[in-house]
Symmetry: D2
Subunit: 442 residues, 4 copies
């Protein structure tokens, strides 16, 4: 039997990698990683080397015998891997900037996961992830695919529906962030708080909240709507919620719900930002530049605190926690994206959902959540419909299907606007969307 685990990280040149490495270091006792393969594409070679060197310094500093490999050869990295993590970004942040800017020209929020931007991210990403799955079937058929690449919900469902890889989990830091935020609001340790999560990626609700195993949902909703906490709450969510809304909803929305329940405010904010500091992608581009400058410092041998601004807070914890629980059959409860299997009523069994699961060596086992509260069923269903149609468009490269996905998205205000956005974005991302253009050229 192999001694130690082999991890392959696709998109290893990402600025997030130091956090992942920190996670492996921290949990080395439970999770004996032997080899960490960071793999990237030709265009990412420079970043890969910078971040790879930092990773090597980090494990050395920690005195942990993890071997770091840098490679542009994905097959080499995948071969006999035990876990494959994916954090790549097709078209890099430039593409994301277009995902955000083009819709804004038409007065529409871009939103890189469940909005028009998310559609295009899915169209670019899904063919690549399916390629990776085909390689995994050949090179490491027993490996677990832990996907962080957004839109994580759609990517997970695409793998479940259109590949033979069944060992796939989609991961997001939103739920863990909600738990930690509420722990802070309650002034208690995170470990004492547990939320029953149910919904979709970036469309997840906390159906109940427990402190030491006892429901404190009403108290939490009171705290969230107490004006005395407004600065704190706004801080974690950007904008506040109407108290009467939260009370009637009787569930905890996630920060991304702002796009759907405060669409007008979010559009204004995005428009203003685009004019001033730039879209989120543009802001992140600057942050990343600074981060890579830091990473280059040969004296840096720990994850720099500046990374937290990047938006990846708790990411390390979520990722390595999940891998550790699978590896050790820990059977703890974690919210992940997985096959529904009846956990959430009205969503097909074979769809991906984001739901509290028990994490076993056989993978995540969702906890049965029953039917969603009536008030949230519709929106969840609508995003799930959007996701399914978008995945079909990504796989088939069919123009009409892509248009349909856009039109049924709740952020898009009309079929005609949808067509304008679609046409401009298809053109803008042409090089990453061969499935749409080979059809036309034939």
């Amino acid at each position: 039997m192999k001694k130690g685990l082999k991890i392959a990280t696709i998109g290893g040149g990402s600025s997030y990698t130091p956090e992942l490495v920190e996670g492996f270091i921290k949990r080395y006792n439970e999770l004996p990683v032997k080899e960490l393969w960071l793999v990237d594409i030709e265009e990412g070679k420079e970043k890969l080397e910078i971040v790879g060197d930092l990773a090597k310094r980090m494990v050395e500093k920690a005195g942990i015998p993890i071997d770091i490999y840098l490679t542009l050869d994905r097959e080499e990295a995948l071969k006999e891997a035990d876990f494959v993590t994916t954090q790549f970004r097709v078209g890099l942040l430039d593409a994301r900037a277009k995902d955000e800017r083009i819709p804004l020209k038409y007065g529409v929020i871009g939103q890189e996961t469940n909005g028009p931007g998310g559609l295009f991210k899915a169209l670019r990403t899904i063919p690549v992830i399916l390629d990776i799955c085909r390689e995994m079937e050949r090179l490491c058929p027993n490996a677990w695919l832990i996907n962080f690449t957004n839109p994580a919900g759609m990517v997970t469902e695409a793998v479940l529906r259109y590949s033979n890889i069944e060992k796939v989990v989609g991961l997001c830091n939103v739920p863990i962030g909600m738990e930690m935020g509420i722990a802070k609001l309650l002034s208690v340790e995170h470990s004492r708080v547990r939320i029953d999560f149910a919904g979709l990626n970036h469309m997840v609700y906390g159906l109940d909240v427990y402190l030491d195993g006892i429901s404190v949902k009403d108290k939490v909703i009171d705290l969230l709507t107490d004006p005395r906490n407004s600065s704190f709450v706004k801080n974690i969510q950007g904008l506040g919620w109407e108290p009467a809304f939260l009370k009637a909803l009787n569930a905890l929305p996630c920060p991304y719900h702002m796009y759907y329940y405060k669409t007008r405010d979010m559009l204004e904010k995005d428009l203003k930002n685009a004019e001033t500091e730039g879209t989120r992608a543009e802001v992140v581009q600057k942050l990343e530049k600074e981060l890579f400058e830091l990473y280059k410092d040969p004296n840096l041998n720990v994850k720099p605190p500046q990374l937290e601004k990047r938006g990846g807070a708790y990411y390390s914890d979520a990722a390595v926690r999940l891998i550790t629980s699978i590896y050790t059959d820990k059977r703890d409860i974690q919210p992940v994206n997985t096959r529904n299997n009846g956990a959430i009523a009205s969503i097909p069994d074979d769809s991906a959902v984001e739901v509290s699961c028990v994490i076993t060596k056989d993978g995540p086992k969702p906890m049965a959540m029953g039917d969603l509260p009536v008030a949230v069923r519709g929106l969840v269903q609508q995003i799930k419909s959007f996701e399914k149609v978008a995945i079909e468009a990504a796989v088939t490269g069919d123009y009409n299907t892509a248009l349909l996905a856009l039109i049924i998205n709740p952020l898009v205000p009309s079929d005609t606007v949808a067509k304008q956005i679609l046409d401009e974005m298809l053109e803008a991302h042409k090089q990453y969307l061969p499935q749409f253009f080979k059809k036309i050229s034939v």
Copy 2:
């Protein structure tokens, strides 16, 4: 046994009544109406008399022995009725004008059925219809309640959930209008065209279209998207659809879908209309005034053709056709609002849906439609969620619940805007919403 049927029409002073009377006259052979009781409230007395006198002249002209009774005493009208039809309007067109104008002030479409306006119409109407049901339980427990009052879907579901009246059907002229429009497009008799309808009131889709029993859906979608038919199509729908959208949707939307798939265009149109000719309620107010002037003419003894502009096209046919089919156990197929009973997947069995039914003497029996196309499931679910929460608000008079209904409505762009609209509309309709205000006053 009684000779002939007793019909009670609540809101009998409506401008629609002549069409209903015409329907009864035309189908007298099959449907032996003996007594038609037109009942209205004190404020509607004058209109009741005008329209009642016209009705009397109409049956006299037709030589049909239907006795017309005019009354302000609802109990007298309901007593031992065989069919009760409801076409009343709480707060009259003035209230509807507010339903339309107030949201527009906040840049939101009013939409008198499934939008913010529809919420308020439901809040005003549902307590009244439940009162009528309680009277029916006492005075005519075996009668059928045929409801035309909007929002017809919510009213039907409220009766199913909150009264003991099980014999209730909600009726709308949209589906029959779609069938007739398509027959015209195909240049064939209406009787040769049949559509499989499934969805909710004013949110119904044609899942398939048959000509002489053979599916012609693809052809119909081609015709609907053929630029050569654009003037015709726009005429029946107001605005055209993107051809690629209709093809990908692979189902026929109803005209009200414009509000959800062309929200921005419809908002602009509504705003412009409000500034120029007035909102729809205001236009109808003028039309009604003119109609009642015509109705007063003692020489008029038929339904005047001007009524068709009112928006009630095919109304007579739909209404009397339904009553006739129930009475005669005709077992023909008609789209109505009834208890789902599994006909549409993902919608609870006990919810009201608008669906093609076989009409028997035991009422409408919905045809099993299976699951809705994935692209439409979400929107239908969202409106159904809105309806359920809105009904609960109407019954409980709970502020938070009403706010929740508004926020989850797809036409409403934010929780904060929702609150502003709610507060202004509650105040504007205060006299018709005792359930909300008695709570506060206590």
Copy 3:
């Protein structure tokens, strides 16, 4: 366009054929059959000629221009057919006699449709029907397949799941027989009675009964349990039901339910019959012999009344009524076996069920029946499970799967007995079950 319809009847040499021919003659005005192709296999040639000659005499006597063709060439018969009816019997009545006798040796009811006998009939029949479907795909892809061959429920589901033929309906005379029996009990014309049927083939329940469109279920149950009707009721059902059972069940069982709710009595009866008059197959063999003697009579030119004893009562009416309603888009209500599509809750959408349908030119459209009464859900589910596993065994020829089907059948008292029956029956029917034996020989 073709003048008149072409019908192909597989198993045309059956003793039932004269009834079918009578049906076509009676409905010729509505259903202009031009060609009736009776096709059979080499072993059935003599019977085919006898019954074919009678059929020719019948149409001649009736003065109807239907051309009767007799052939052993199935492809010729199928070519461009409009309707294909199937009434063949793989292994003839000899095989059925074994289906009945072998289980009885082990103290188990044979039951040729939903019992152990039915399993073997399915194993023999399904491969043949799937062959026919493949030919139909090639020779008459637009034809409707109207299947009378038992087990009609399983055959229909096998076609739906394992062929590309979607236009398939399974037909049985049990529901129409129930309606007619109840009409007789109520002393009214059959046309005034309608039953809401839901369940599976030979496992169908009447959920409600209407006389002139008004529910008379309670009255019918009273009549069925009134000792004054016992001789009549026993006559139509063989054995009586416990009155308290029928009242609590609150639905009408079909005669085949005797096997499941009176298993011990039926087993005794079958055992006694097997010892005295022979099993049903053996009795029918004698009847058929006599029938064919009659058919040979060159002076016979109508359906002989003796045929009714054969067990095919109302068969003609059911079969031609269905074909006529499809052809004329009649939209009347008939109980048939078709794709569930949500009509009966808890049964998968793509399973075959026996349910009241509206018959259109586009095929049967089931009426939504909601959930079955709690008391019958389990048994229906159990037979559906048996059917699904049995179909899988028929298609794969897998021994273990066939054993599983037998064991989960409610008539089979143990896994060990099941294995004994399976082994003996596989051997007995070896020549008709190549799918099971080629596997072993390889």
Copy 4:
């Protein structure tokens, strides 16, 4: 806050009690029980005192500060209890002997949980448990009700449907016994084996089996069907399974499945036992007599090993393990009877199921199991139907409903036999079934 927990054990005079006490002693570190109240009825006073004295000696010997209280006053015991366990037996073993013997007279297995005997146990027990629930609502509304009284599935569902107590769990030692048996077969520690359980009480299946988190289902099925293990397997199950059956079933049946998949063999065995050693109740009566003789020994201060023969193996572990996990919010996986909430498809959300759950302080959270394998769906549904109808009969005391429950039970061979059994058993248990007799007397 209270120091330590108060446990109330209804039926505290049971021979099982020493095992429960042993469990509390063993887990005292995690579960600080302060007071254990053993409560019984007047007729059980002597046994209560014997077993209570033993319990006192046991805690004294263990040096654990648990106070044991003996009482006939149920209210006193329930007051402010934290956990209520129920292990009472209405009518004692005499009644169970009748449950077993009377059906056997009619050639029917009695089966004290899901068979005719189980129906009568339910009819006697459910009114009593609902009384206890009403007292709990008053005296200890926050307590958890841990029910061991059979039929545990029906009792749990009755509490969920007909009381206001939501904190209820039904417990059985069958699943834990299956896990331990398989661990033994694999020659590994129990803690390394985990089974995905799904089904109903005494009708539970192992859908998958894991060793150290990796599925070993195929291997286990091979072992179970390997003739070399036959003596071991028969030992744990009484009779062996047909290997081909287990392979095709592709799930692990529980020992009680013998009644349904080996009905004939079990009937023979029961009949033979009844003639020789007596029914199970009669055997247990002797065992209990001997046990109580042992319990009386003032030198006995531990659970005597003879108790294991009683049939309660692993009972202590299951019971105290569950209470401990609730109390400590342990979040481990245990199979218990709880509200389905969507965990098992086709079973209503609000029905009780036996399913693997994560045990939290907020109670058991079932893991989503999706749809059951097609081959087992029917039987599970049938027993669930039986349970629902039986519960309704227990609550209403309606004769017809009780008859219906019996007839739809898969062990009962006919409606007529059902009626004979029902009539004789109602009479035999008359004193414990007031709900059936007060109706008649009025």
